[in-house]
């Protein structure tokens, strides 16, 4: 896989950005890159990149996250180290952006530098099983709101259509037409379709550019 120096994941609230960003960072590391992952989520107080702190550190991936993440401090602050991701061009960077336009505002302050370097991929993560992005039109609306908020343009689409643990191969296949239409209407390539790794074997011959995801275990399963 050809990686850009900076890869950004943005999209609708709850579309799966954090999980995909984490898996993407691990893949990059496995491909021999020096990787840093930055958590720019100022919206979501729970289920953060920081939940995977130990796994990231074991894999040798640097995590830049608010020191307040997963604490009781409810403060939408970003650490100053995030500037290092943009300014220090030696590492490959994965940036996890908060949901919707509200989350994307935080990206705005880095946008100029990222666009000037001109070596980035910005993914729009989509899930047609989320109630507010059920169709092409509402998905494009969210996409447009995000681009306006962060003053950057998306470069590709990631189809992460799923309904959680109950997702079947059929659900993924049923989302492909939606994903292709979003790609067509936005003029961007559908770069990846992401699925829980347990569905990978069933789907990899049927879906192009399929990426398996390792998801976190939950104690309340």
């Amino acid at each position: 896989m050809q990686y850009k120096r900076i890869t950004l994941f943005a999209g609708h609230y709850g579309s799966g950005k954090t999980n995909i960003a984490l898996n993407y960072a691990f893949n990059m590391k496995r491909d021999g890159k020096s990787v840093v992952i930055a958590d720019l989520d100022i919206v979501n107080p729970y289920f953060r990149t920081k939940d995977s702190e130990r796994e990231l550190s074991e894999a040798g991936i640097k995590l830049i996250s608010s020191s307040f993440a997963n604490s009781n401090v409810d403060l939408p602050a970003l650490p100053q180290e995030i500037y290092s991701v943009v300014d220090d061009k030696t590492d490959y960077a994965v940036m996890d952006i908060g949901g919707d336009d509200r989350g994307a505002y935080a990206l705005g302050r880095y946008a100029d530098s990222i666009v000037r370097e001109n070596n980035y991929e910005m993914f729009m993560v989509i899930n047609m099983y989320r109630p507010l992005t059920r169709d092409v039109e509402s998905t494009l609306e969210v996409m447009n709101e995000i681009e306006t908020a962060c003053s950057m343009k998306f470069t590709a689409i990631v189809n992460n259509s799923n309904i959680g643990e109950e997702t079947t191969a059929q659900d993924v296949l049923a989302s492909m037409s939606y994903a292709n239409k979003v790609a067509e209407a936005s003029g961007l390539p559908l770069r990846l379709t992401t699925v829980d790794k347990k569905l990978y074997n069933e789907l990899h011959e049927k879906v192009e550019n399929l990426m398996p995801l390792t998801l976190q275990d939950k104690i309340w399963r």
Binding site: P45, Y46, Y129, P131, I163, I219, W220
Partner: protein, 355 residues
């Protein structure tokens, strides 16, 4: 719409409210329930409803009183410190016998506490919370699906009995994402002859009020209200039984901790320990009878909760202290792990049954 979508618990509450015919929402942001307000802000303008971010929780609950007086379905939501602020208004709703739905997505306390999940507003919810003799119907969802279905149910119960129904969730339930079917069925409509809808000069005007100048009249009103509560205790109790047929140990837990406890029970069963669970779905009315019956068969109870031991008192009352009740808890935003619950089951299995 019967096919499933992927939703956050907080979003499921908001969408279910809209499906239940709630076109009026007043709130104030607080973690971890802010998505209820954010979702309402997006959806209400599209269906011609009202979303209003009030200047405080106190003003939000008073706006709820206003809409409830007109007989329209109305909801507000908050998290623990915000619900404390609403307590006065909830007492006024009770005093005026007005239907409304109040959502509490609990976080750690007391005081400003923290933003991580908790169940320590149990007493506040089931014993009243505000001043005066009253109850709220309190529903405790344990999945995103129940966040939706119990919200739908909360509106029905509120109208049926003309009182406040509360959804008592926690930060995890609000934030987790699960598949949910929003096919909730028909919305029942109830006559509301007391509603302030304008007389058109065709009837005597209605008055919604909680002030009684004569103590005899206020006493009578309280008696009548408690007759209604008695009916609710007889007719509206909801609970889930899990592996209780041959259980010698009965775990009692609600919401997210019931999910964790279920995993621990499965592991204990695999080790041959006869343990089951009664999960209260209505915390008020509390499932007293099924627990009291279980006390004749089980040797001990374990209350698994994210508080310093609040529901445990209701269990002891329900079973009339016939058997020992042990506490398995974490607080302050911490969630008990399945291993911790299993260790407690092991311990009670070895030593339990004796006071």
């Amino acid at each position: 719409m019967s096919e499933k979508v992927l939703m956050k618990g907080n979003e499921a509450i908001a969408e279910a409210a809209i499906l239940a015919g709630c076109n009026h929402y007043f709130g104030y942001p607080i973690t971890p329930q802010t998505e209820v307000a954010a979702y309402m802000a997006k959806r209400m303008p599209k269906i011609g409803g009202t979303f209003l971010q009030a200047e405080s929780e106190v003003s939000a609950i008073n706006m709820v009183i206003g809409v409830a007086s007109t007989g329209k379905r109305v909801m507000t939501s908050s998290s623990s410190p915000g619900v404390s602020l609403k307590a006065e208004g909830i007492s006024y709703l009770a005093g005026c016998d007005l239907p409304a739905v109040v959502v509490n997505v609990q976080r750690g306390g007391p005081g400003l506490g923290g933003i991580q999940p908790s169940q320590s507003d149990y007493f506040q919810s089931v014993k009243g919370g505000g001043h005066g003799d009253y109850h709220n119907i309190v529903l405790a969802p344990a999945s995103v699906q129940e966040m939706a279905s119990l919200t739908f149910k909360a509106f029905d119960l509120a109208d049926k009995y003309s009182m406040v129904s509360m959804i008592l969730a926690d930060g995890t339930m609000g934030q987790m994402m699960e598949p949910v079917s929003l096919d909730a069925g028909e919305v029942n409509t109830y006559e509301k002859p007391w509603a302030l809808t304008g007389t058109n000069c065709e009837r005597k005007h209605n008055i919604v009020n909680s002030l009684y100048l004569k103590p005899e009249a206020l006493e009578q009103k309280n008696f009548e209200r408690y007759e209604k509560y008695k009916q609710i205790e007889e007719n509206e109790v909801m609970y889930e039984e899990y592996l209780m047929d041959d259980a010698e140990i009965c775990v009692v837990s609600f919401g997210i901790t019931a999910r964790v406890a279920k995993n621990a029970i499965n592991e204990a069963r695999a080790k041959g320990i006869k343990v089951g669970m009664i999960r209260p779905i209505t915390l008020w009315p509390f499932p007293k009878k099924v627990l009291c019956d279980a006390a004749d068969k089980c040797k001990a109870f374990i209350s698994v909760e994210m508080s310093m031991g609040q529901m445990i008192e209701d269990i002891e009352l329900a079973i009339r202290c016939k058997k020992p009740v042990y506490l398995c808890n974490r607080v302050g935003g911490m969630i008990p792990s399945p291993e911790e619950v299993l260790a407690k089951i092991d311990e009670v299995n070895k030593n339990g049954g004796a006071f």
